[in-house]
């Protein structure tokens, strides 16, 4: 069953597809440039405790992004 979540809330090891970037144009541009675009497949590698950064795999790269940014990347899993 498909469910909608975000990069910060996903569990390590979970996979999904990006369905939305909920942010202003500046951050959207940065996310897109580093490879986090709508339609891309992502898998979560880890998240640091205490709202620390989140590490995800997208395409051929691993990207680390702050917890707040990760919340803005909406993902459909399952």
């Amino acid at each position: 069953m498909k469910k909608s979540t975000d990069l910060a809330s996903m569990a390590p090891g979970e996979r999904g597809r990006i369905t939305g970037l909920i942010s202003g144009p500046g951050l959207v541009r940065r996310l897109e440039e580093i490879g986090l675009r709508v339609g891309q497949r992502v898998s979560k590698i880890s998240g640091m405790p205490l709202r620390g950064p989140v590490v995800v795999q997208v395409g051929g790269t691993r990207v680390a992004l702050g917890h707040g940014m990760a919340k803005k990347v909406i993902v459909e899993t399952g």
């Binding site: 390590p12 500046g26 541009r29 940065r30 996310l31 897109e32 440039e33 580093i34 490879g35 675009r37 339609g39 590698i45 880890s46 998240g47 640091m48 405790p49 205490l50 620390g52 950064p53 590490v55 395409g59 051929g60 790269t61 691993r62 990207v63 680390a64 992004l65 702050g66 917890h67 707040g68 940014m69």
Partner: protein, 582 residues
């Protein structure tokens, strides 16, 4: 002269390729943002260069090559981005350097370049790594899709560089229509799906290690292990070099040369006191004589240089292996408490070598506030390798607990001051967003070249200033300026810090070089507690002249003055406090 510009995303190997093309040594590391300014070099086409019709360059023609900072897009956002775009304006040809292991994302910038009028050639770099990752790319197909020459390269080994130089002749404008951002994404997908095939592959050991080092429960213990091992290695290599190489050379080979010189100059003459210094019990003492040729050279070459070598050996390995961005992720939480994000750990670690490149490296941070906080914290709380070598040598001789006291104090100052600045300096620190590079075993050639260029840079900068500092000290005493200064500064030094009047000179010399300054504390017969106070104050008080210059350049005079003011006040406060406690 025609200009060729190297452009690409961060950490795709532009600087290594630049070095291959021009022979100019630049610092390259395995993390995004190593190149913060730009470097120029020259390439001369071989005399026997074939020149087909429409060739861009003649045989033997000399062209300028420019290594630009890495950017993701020409729609410039940050300061580094704008620098890159300005460089592009004057280019006659662009080499679009692409990370073959991450083709799709890298194509975004390439497509933007192909929409311009400038001739483009694509270097498909890191070609060797595609194999381990199960990526198969057909360069001919990619060339057909893009409409410009595509050459696979492995910059670190030199593979493909000759071919790249040959095919520069065929570079041409891409002639792509100007696209909107949203139109580029499907185009990138279309190109990649036509020329790239992904094989299923098992994770390699390095990939597994990569995941473990960013997961909290394995990553933090690993980080502690890495940092402890690094510290131990730096000490072990540094002490071994001093004990088995530097000291024997100075005592066995150099001293016998100095003794006749000392006799010939005649102790007591002005030249003798400048070159050789004072004789201690009728003998030259490398630690106490304080001449340009005795203590000056001994401090730099026998006490500091071994640590410079061992520190950069270990740091360069961590850099090139790709560990530092992972450390940034793990420490992001801590760094946010001091008003920075995790990536600031990179300039901070560089600062343990030398504060000058560290302050320059703060350019990888995004805003002014972060750069100000990072530069100030580095100048106050991060002792450079030269200073640390002297702390180990001098304070360490009284017992490890005193060295620990100096480090603990500096770390607390760093932490508390950072916490306060985070509260008091207006603005906020942005969140971290970085690409984490693959782990790579550093190839020995480029690795040792980088080490050598760092050591040469140290010697070039240090030796003249040290000579100047020792000269200044001897003149201060000879011309009796010392007493005037002593009268002026005595209250601070004697009352607040509890140090003898003579300690004023080392503290002033600290403005030139801190290692020499600590060396000057040796002959003062300080108690262990006084030594801790004096070295800690020296570490925090004013930056050395080289750091001062770079702070001015990077922060502007207003922020530099603020930063120096903070150092001054904090050094006096902490020095007085330590004096009360010890």
């Amino acid at each position: 002269m025609k200009k060729i510009v190297l452009m690409g995303n961060p950490n795709v190997g532009k600087s290594v390729l630049f070095h291959r093309l021009t022979g100019v040594q630049v610092i390259a590391s395995n993390y995004p943002g190593t190149t913060v300014g730009f470097t120029r070099g020259f390439l001369t086409f071989p005399r026997d260069t074939p020149t087909p019709d429409g060739a861009l360059f003649g045989p033997g023609e000399r062209v300028e090559i420019i290594d630009a900072p890495g950017i993701y897009s020409l729609e410039a956002a940050s300061r580094a981005d704008r620098v890159a775009v300005e460089i592009l304006e004057g280019a006659d040809l662009v080499i679009s350097v692409v990370d073959a292991t991450n083709l799709e994302r890298n194509l975004c910038l390439t497509l933007q370049l192909l929409e311009r009028e400038v001739p483009v050639l694509v270097a498909l770099n890191l070609w060797d790594e595609t194999r381990h990752l199960g990526i198969e790319i057909t360069p001919e197909k990619l060339e057909e899709m893009l409409g410009v020459p595509v050459v696979p390269t492995v910059a670190v080994s030199g593979e493909g560089i000759r071919r790249l130089v040959e095919r520069l002749q065929e570079a041409r404008p891409g002639g792509h229509p100007a696209r909107e951002r949203e139109e580029r994404w499907p185009e990138m997908g279309r190109i990649v799906s036509s020329c790239q095939f992904l094989h299923h592959h098992h994770h390699t050991f390095l990939q597994r290690l990569s995941d473990l080092s960013v997961m909290p429960w394995t990553g933090l213990p690993l980080a502690a292990l890495v940092l402890l091992a690094a510290f131990w290695l730096v000490r072990f290599i540094g002490e071994s070099l001093i004990g088995y190489v530097a000291d024997p050379i100075f005592e066995g080979l150099y001293l016998p040369l100095l003794e006749p010189l000392s006799e010939w100059l005649g102790p007591g003459s002005l030249l003798h006191s400048i070159l050789i210094g004072r004789l201690i019990d009728g003998e030259i003492d490398f630690l106490q004589s304080f001449g340009v040729l005795t203590t000056g050279l001994y401090v730099e070459l026998a006490m500091v240089l071994p640590y410079i070598i061992s520190f950069y050996l270990v740091l360069s390995f961590l850099e090139d292996f790709g560990y530092l961005p992972r450390l940034a992720v793990l420490l992001d939480g801590l760094m946010h408490r001091v008003g920075l994000h995790g990536y600031a750990i990179i300039p901070t670690l560089l600062g343990l070598g030398c504060n000058v490149p560290a302050v320059m490296a703060t350019r990888i941070l995004e805003n002014r506030r972060e750069r100000f906080i990072a530069a100030t914290l580095i100048s106050i709380g991060v002792p450079c390798a030269a200073l640390q070598a002297m702390i180990f040598g001098l304070v360490g001789a009284r017992g490890g607990q005193y060295v620990a006291a100096v480090y603990f104090t500096l770390f607390m100052v760093w932490l508390i001051l950072g916490f306060l600045m985070n509260r008091l300096v207006k603005g906020y620190s942005p969140e971290l967003i970085i690409e984490i590079p693959h782990y790579r075993l550093p190839p020995p050639g480029p690795f040792f070249k980088k080490l050598r260029s760092r050591i040469v840079a140290f010697l070039k900068e240090a030796l003249p200033v040290v000579t100047l500092a020792v000269l200044a000290v001897n003149l201060l005493y000879a011309l009796d300026i010392f007493n005037i200064l002593a009268g002026f500064f005595a209250p601070v030094v004697t009352v607040l810090f509890g140090l003898p009047r003579e300690a004023i000179v080392p503290i002033l010399i600290g403005l030139l070089r801190k290692d020499v300054a600590v060396g000057m504390l040796g002959p003062l017969n300080l108690s262990a507690g006084q030594l801790v106070v004096a070295t800690t104050v020296l570490a925090m008080f004013f930056p050395c002249i080289a750091t001062f210059a770079i702070l001015l350049k990077e922060l502007g005079w207003r922020d530099m003055l603020k930063s120096t003011g903070i150092m001054f006040v904090v050094a006096i406060l902490v020095g007085s406090l330590l004096n009360l406690l010890l």
